[in-house]
C-alpha cells in the first residue's frame, strides 16, 4: 500500500509538533523516520496510524483519503515502543486478539493455525502459553510484531522498535526485521533516533528536525551527500573546522577543499573521523594530541588545533601516538557549509 502525506500539520496545546510534512512511501518500501527527540517523528507515525488526527493536510493510503479514518478501521499494524502487550493474556492470546475482535469472523481453528504460523514466523514456537512477563525483552518485541501482523495490516508501523533492548539483541532483531520485511513485502514505516539503526535497516531514510523534513534519500544518498550541517552532525561524528570560502574553494590554514555552491565568506568544514589523516610533518593544520582512546576496531585520537578546535580522528592501531605530541592534520574529504 502506497502512503502519501500531504502537508500534514499537528499542534499540541501551543507546541507545533509537525509543521507541514509531505512524504511519499512506495508500496513495499521500508522507510525510517529519523530525528532527535522532539523532531515530530513519533507524532507523524501516530498520525499515519490514526492514533492522532492531523490538524491540517491529508494522509492517503493508496488513492483513499485516510486522514479521518479512525485507527480501528485504518488497517494498520502498530508496534509500540514498550510493546503494550496485554499482561493478562498469554502470548498466543495476545497474537490472536486482533483476529478475535475483528469484524471479519474467523473460526477458532483458523485463528489457532494462524497463531501457530505467526509464532513460527517470529521464531517463538512453543512459547504461546507464556505470559508477557515470563519472556525476555527481545521476545516481547517479536510477540508485539506478530500481534500487529496478525490482522493483515496494509501498513506496518513501528515506534522505536528496538529502543528498549540492549545493543546485541538490537542488532540481531534489526537484521531479522529486514528479513521479515523482504519475506512479507509489507509497506513499513518506523521511527528511530538511532542513525545507525535507520541506515542499517531502511530502504530510505527521512531525517526530521523541529517538525520538518530536512533531507530524505537512500542511506547512501544521505550519508554521502548531507545537505546541511545538521544532517552531517546527526548522522555521525563530525569534526568542525572554521574556514573561509573564496571562489568555490574553502581555505583552512594550509588546507583547501572544494566548496562549490557555497557563498564567499566564513564557513565551516565538516570531516568524519575516518577522513582525517595525521602526520608529523606539514603541510596541514597544526594540532596537539590530547588523548588516545583504544577501541576494539581501531585507535581514536583526540587533538586540539592551534585555533582551539577539538578534533577526533582514527589512526591505524599499530601507529604509535602519544598525548602531547604535535603534528599536522590533513583532510581526505570534507563538506563545507556556510555559517
Amino acid at each position: 500500500m502506497k502512503i502519501h502525506l500531504e502537508n500534514v500539520v499537528k499542534t499540541f496545546e501551543s507546541f507545533q509538533a509537525v509543521k507541514g510534512v509531505s512524504l511519499d512511501i512506495e508500496s513495499g518500501e521500508l522507510v525510517a523516520l529519523l530525528g532527535p527527540s522532539g523532531s515530530g517523528k513519533t507524532t507523524i507515525l501516530r498520525m499515519v496510524a490514526g492514533l492522532e488526527y492531523a490538524d491540517g493536510g491529508a494522509i492517503y493510503f493508496g488513492d483513499q483519503d485516510a486522514t479521518d479514518i479512525p485507527v480501528r478501521d485504518r488497517g494498520v499494524g502498530f508496534v509500540f515502543q514498550h510493546y503494550a502487550l496485554f499482561p493478562h493474556m498469554t502470548v498466543a492470546d495476545n497474537i490472536a486478539f486482533g483476529m478475535k475482535v475483528s469484524k471479519v469472523k474467523r473460526d477458532k481453528a483458523a485463528i489457532d493455525s494462524r497463531v501457530t504460523d505467526l509464532l513460527r514466523l517470529v521464531r517463538l514456537e512453543g512459547l504461546g502459553d507464556r505470559f508477557p512477563a515470563q519472556i525476555s525483552g527481545g521476545q516481547r518485541q517479536r510477540v508485539a510484531l506478530a500481534r500487529a501482523l496478525a490482522v493483515d495490516p496494509k501498513v506496518l508501523l513501528l515506534d522505536e522498535p528496538f529502543g528498549a533492548l540492549d545493543a546485541n539483541v538490537r542488532r540481531d532483531l534489526r537484521r531479522w526485521l529486514r528479513e521479515i520485511h523482504s519475506e512479507l513485502g509489507i509497506t513499513t514505516l518506523f521511527v528511530t533516533h538511532d542513525q545507525e539503526e535507520a541506515l542499517d535497516l531502511a530502504d530510505r531514510v527521512v531525517i526530521l528536525k523541529d517538525g520538518q523534513i530536512v533531507q530524505q534519500g537512500t542511506p547512501e544518498e544521505v550519508c554521502r551527500d548531507p545537505k546541511s550541517a545538521f544532517v552531517m552532525k546527526f548522522l555521525g561524528d563530525a569534526n568542525v573546522i572554521a574556514a573561509d570560502v573564496r571562489d568555490g574553494r574553502a581555505y583552512a590554514g594550509e588546507l583547501s577543499v572544494e566548496a562549490a555552491g557555497v557563498a564567499d565568506g566564513r564557513a565551516e568544514l565538516y570531516a568524519r573521523p575516518s577522513d582525517i589523516d595525521w602526520s608529523e610533518q606539514g603541510p596541514g593544520i597544526a594540532a596537539e594530541i590530547t588523548r588516545v582512546l583504544d577501541r576494539a576496531d581501531g585507535r581514536r585520537v583526540l587533538a586540539t588545533t592551534g585555533a582551539g578546535e577539538a578534533l577526533e580522528f582514527d589512526v591505524e592501531p599499530e601507529r604509535v601516538v602519544k598525548a602531547g605530541e604535535t603534528g599536522f592534520v590533513t583532510l581526505r574529504r570534507a563538506k563545507v557549509f556556510g555559517v
Binding site: R72, V76, A84, F97, P132, G137, A148, E160
Partner: protein
C-alpha cells in the same frame, strides 16, 4: 561468623534497645486501648445478658429492618458509585480535557468534608425550606427522611472510594494498552472489558469493598437526612444509637456486633485481595526495560 556479621551491622536511627522497646511498647498499649479493647467490649457486652437477649435484639423487627435498610442502601449506592468511579477514573486517566485537575479535586471533596456537613447541605437542597423542597413536595416526591435521602447521602460520602483506587493504577498503566487494542480493531466496549478491566480488577474490587464498608457504617450524613424513624428510616448505625439512648446498652452492643462482624469480613476480604493483587503484581511485574 554470623555473630560477627550481626555485630558489624552499622547502627541505624533508633536502633538503641531502650528506644526500640519503648516505641514498640507505646504502639502496643495504644492499639490495645484504642482499637482492641472496644472491639472486645462489643462482644462481651452483647452477650452479657445471655444468648437469649442477644438473639431477641438481633431478630427484633426494628433491628432486622435496620439491617435490611443498610443492605438496601449498599446495594444501590455501591454499584452506582462503582460505575461512577470507573467512569471518573477512565475519563481522568485516558482523556485530556479542560477542567481535568478540577474534577480530580472535586472527587476528593467527600473525603475531606465532615459527613454531617454533607447531611446538612442536603437539608438545604431537598428540605422543605430548601432549593427543590417545595417543588418535590408539590409533586409528592419524598427524598429527605426517606430511603432516597439515605442513599443519596451514602453515595456522597463514598463517591471517591472506587475512583481513588483506580486513578493511580490507571495512570501508571498509561494508554498504550487501549491504543494497542483499538489499533487491532477492537471497539471501545471490547477494549474496556477485554483489556482495561482485567488489568484493574483487583484495585476495583478493593475500592468496592472499602466503599461498601463505608456505606454500611455511615452515620453522620445519614443521621441528618434520615429522620431516625424507627422501623422506617433507621439504618444499622442509627439503630445502634437509638438503642443506646433508650438505655438498652445490651441491645446497642448486640446491634453493634453485627456491624463489627461486617467490618471483620471486610478486612478479611481486603487482606485476601491484597495478597491476590500483590501476587499478580509480582508475577506480571512488567520488568519493562527502560529506554536510555
Amino acid at each position: 561468623m554470623s555473630n560477627l556479621s550481626t555485630r558489624r551491622k552499622p547502627p541505624r536511627v533508633g536502633d538503641a534497645p531502650l528506644f526500640r522497646r519503648s516505641l514498640i511498647g507505646i504502639v502496643l498499649v495504644l492499639v490495645a486501648f484504642v482499637i482492641v479493647a472496644p472491639l472486645v467490649i462489643i462482644g462481651v457486652e452483647a452477650f452479657s445478658k445471655g444468648w437469649q437477649l442477644y438473639r431477641d435484639t438481633v431478630i427484633h423487627p426494628d433491628t432486622l429492618h435496620a439491617v435490611m435498610l443498610t443492605v438496601l442502601a449498599a446495594l444501590i449506592a455501591v454499584p452506582i458509585n462503582t460505575i461512577f468511579g470507573i467512569a471518573a477514573a477512565w475519563a481522568i486517566t485516558k482523556f485530556d480535557f479542560w477542567g481535568k485537575r478540577f474534577l480530580l479535586v472535586v472527587i476528593e471533596i467527600p473525603f475531606s468534608v465532615s459527613p454531617i456537613v454533607a447531611g446538612v447541605a442536603y437539608l438545604f437542597v431537598y428540605g422543605l425550606q430548601g432549593l427543590f423542597g417545595p417543588w418535590l413536595d408539590a409533586h409528592d416526591i419524598k427524598i429527605l427522611f426517606a430511603v432516597p435521602g439515605i442513599i443519596i447521602a451514602s453515595m456522597f460520602v463514598t463517591a471517591p472510594f472506587v475512583a481513588r483506587e483506580l486513578i493511580p493504577l490507571m495512570q501508571a498503566q498509561g494508554r498504550d494498552l487501549e491504543e494497542a487494542s483499538t489499533s487491532l480493531g477492537a471497539s471501545g466496549w471490547r477494549t474496556f472489558f477485554a483489556v482495561t478491566l482485567p488489568n484493574v480488577k483487583w484495585a476495583l474490587l478493593y475500592g468496592v469493598i472499602l466503599c461498601n464498608a463505608r456505606v454500611m457504617g455511615e452515620f453522620g450524613a445519614v443521621s441528618v437526612v434520615s429522620g431516625n424513624i424507627r422501623g422506617q428510616t433507621n439504618t444499622l448505625p442509627l439503630h445502634i444509637e437509638l438503642l443506646y439512648h433508650d438505655y438498652n446498652a445490651t441491645g446497642a452492643f448486640a446491634a453493634a456486633s453485627i456491624l463489627a462482624l461486617i467490618a471483620v469480613f471486610t478486612i478479611i476480604a481486603k487482606v485476601a485481595l491484597e495478597r491476590q493483587g500483590a501476587g499478580r503484581v509480582r508475577k506480571q511485574a512488567n520488568p519493562a526495560e527502560k529506554t536510555s
